[in-house]
Amino acid sequence: MRSWRRGQLPMPDSLFDSAACALAVTREDGTILRVNPRLSDWLGFSAAELQGRRFQDLLTMGGRIFYQTHLAPMLRMHGSVTEVKLDIRHCAGHKVTVLLNANQRQQPDGVVYDLALFGTTDRDKYERELLNARKLAEALLQEKTATELALQQAQAELSEAYAIAQRRALFAEQMVAIVSHDLKNPLTAIRMASDFLQRGERTAKERQLLGHIGQSSERAQRMIADLLDFTQARVGQGITIKAVPLDLHNVIQHAVDELRVAFPAATLVHHAEGLGQACLDADRVQQIIGNLVANSVAYGDLLQPITVTSRLGDNACAVAVHNHGPAIPESLLAGLFEPMTRGTDQGSDVRSVGLGLYIVRELARVHGGDVAVSSCAMAGTTFTVMF
């Protein structure tokens, strides 16, 4: 190495040789013409070994493809590239990561490229960490987006299924309404015919059979009335009432008398409490009592009386039906007033379609009141409708 005096600039050759980065000069096709000792040092090849080889052949395979598809065209197009990161193979086989700057230079005998390489192994590690973090974030985002999409799809399917179910339910309820309505006329004809037959001279057996026909058609009529009220409440305009001032005790007494005929197996007792006027729809109050008594007959202990109470007070009035017998199971209480709920699956012929209590509640509400139930094995079961 040449020496120089203090204050004097180094000669170009020694600057090339002692530069703090690796330097090389190549031909246009990449053939190495000259390298500085630092490049030899970094790559483990002597200067003589490097000269005559092509720079791109020192790279890893990925780097060589990148050189052909990006670097060489860029160098030709722009005459320079900067800050390109490449991996070079050390003579021992491991990778040396460098940043490459290259510049085209016109020489009398053609074009050469000046290359400057900076070691960047540590920064490369850091950049790879950044890159990995970014890839992770992108993967997570993609996952989140996919999950959201799946959720949206599930929601859409659910609301579609819900809409279909609603259409089906509406159709079924309309069907019930139509069928119930159409059943009324033939049933009326049966009742009229059996009434007519009862007027003449009949044997005991015939009288018993005609009684069965009468009771059965009455039960069928009550069921149809329930179904019509149900569909009116669910798909129609709601149940309508004509409330007028009436003597509640009298109305209930009348209803209990009729129910004694309808349920000859049961013992019905009427209690009237208090004095005053009530403003109610008499037919609907009768229907309420009818449904509650039918319920007591179906599920109560018929060896003990069923008590119907009408109660009048200053501002409110109520009717209650009590029966003895087993308590209503806890599990049934919550849904007791929903349609199609039954106390048991017993196959009794007193069983109805399960609309009775639902209609009692609807009728109570349309009067501005409500219905409550209390049930235990000791005291029995009481349904109370407050108006």
């Binding site: 395979m61 990925g62 493809i65 052909q68 722009h78 900067t82 990161k85």
Partner: protein, 270 residues
């Protein structure tokens, strides 16, 4: 669909036939700056950028459509239908040679001839085929692309500052020369280097000029010879050149070989 915007289509020159220039992986249509001017006197010339490259409309990059070369081939046929006049000769570099082959297969008879520069129907070796690469090499390339994502924009900045004075449009193109969205570059690299078009080139009857570099890492001589053997109507020309872009580093030699091949379709010399 506005093709001119989507593919940054440029139409130049005059002649009875059309040359459609289609660039390869990594760059854009500016790579034809050294070769295309040679033909402007005798041909109608169409240049364009593949979607995702150069000044193409990046918003048109549909990951599904461009998950194979088919999407690019359909684009090329649309450009041919919209801009070509008379017989059409596709000039495709590298992967675009295969895009041109697929376009030909999709619309038989539409393409009169191909000029394939550095073509390869498959890059990865198999038991009975030498493409020049192993699968790991391609993963290594993707890694190198990744490594250059971070410094990508800053790497371009000094180049843009130092660009020599040129017409605005062409400056814009040279500035965006090798600049690609990282995600797009990644997918295009996969699609390019993992594709296998040996079945598509097999028996292709359209006249083909194969321009093979004498020393090309990406498309070695053995691959050019393979293509010449499987395409019955092909002409094989070896160009003395180091590297994968003879149309940039040896444009005169390429132009001479093309002139001879294109003579039947060229306008008479003015």
């Amino acid at each position: 669909m506005d093709l001119r915007h989507r593919n940054h289509v440029r139409v130049k020159g005059h002649g009875p036939s059309t040359l459609v220039f289609s660039h390869g992986f990594g760059c854009n249509q500016a790579m034809w700056n050294y070769l295309a001017p040679h033909f402007l006197e005798r041909f109608h010339v169409v240049l364009y950028d593949l979607v995702g490259a150069g000044l193409s409309d990046l918003s048109a990059f549909d990951k599904t459509k461009y998950s194979s070369l088919d999407g690019y081939a359909r684009d090329l046929n649309e450009i041919v239908d919209a801009y070509a006049e008379g017989p059409v000769i596709l000039v495709g570099h590298s992967v675009s040679a295969m895009i041109g082959t697929l376009a030909d297969r999709f619309a038989p008879g539409r393409i009169a001839a191909h000029v394939m520069i550095g073509p390869s129907p498959r890059y990865i070796d198999t038991e009975d085929y030498v493409g020049g690469f192993q699968r790991d090499d391609i993963e290594d390339l993707l890694d190198t692309l990744d490594s250059n994502y971070l410094g990508w924009s800053s790497a371009m900045a000094p180049v843009i500052m130092g660009a020599p004075t040129q017409p605005a449009l062409s400056t814009e193109l040279t500035e965006s020369f090798c600049r690609t969205e990282p995600d797009i570059a990644r997918q295009f690299a996969r699609v390019t280097f993992l594709s296998d078009n040996r079945h598509d080139v097999q028996g292709l009857a359209t006249p083909v000029l194969i321009l093979q570099s004498s020393d090309d890492l990406i498309a070695p001589v053995a691959v050019g010879e393979y293509l010449h053997a499987v395409m019955p109507n092909s002409t094989y020309r070896l160009v003395d050149n180091v590297g994968h872009c003879p149309h940039m580093s040896a444009p005169q030699a390429c132009a001479a070989a093309m002139d001879a091949f294109l003579a039947p379709w060229a306008a008479a010399d003015a």
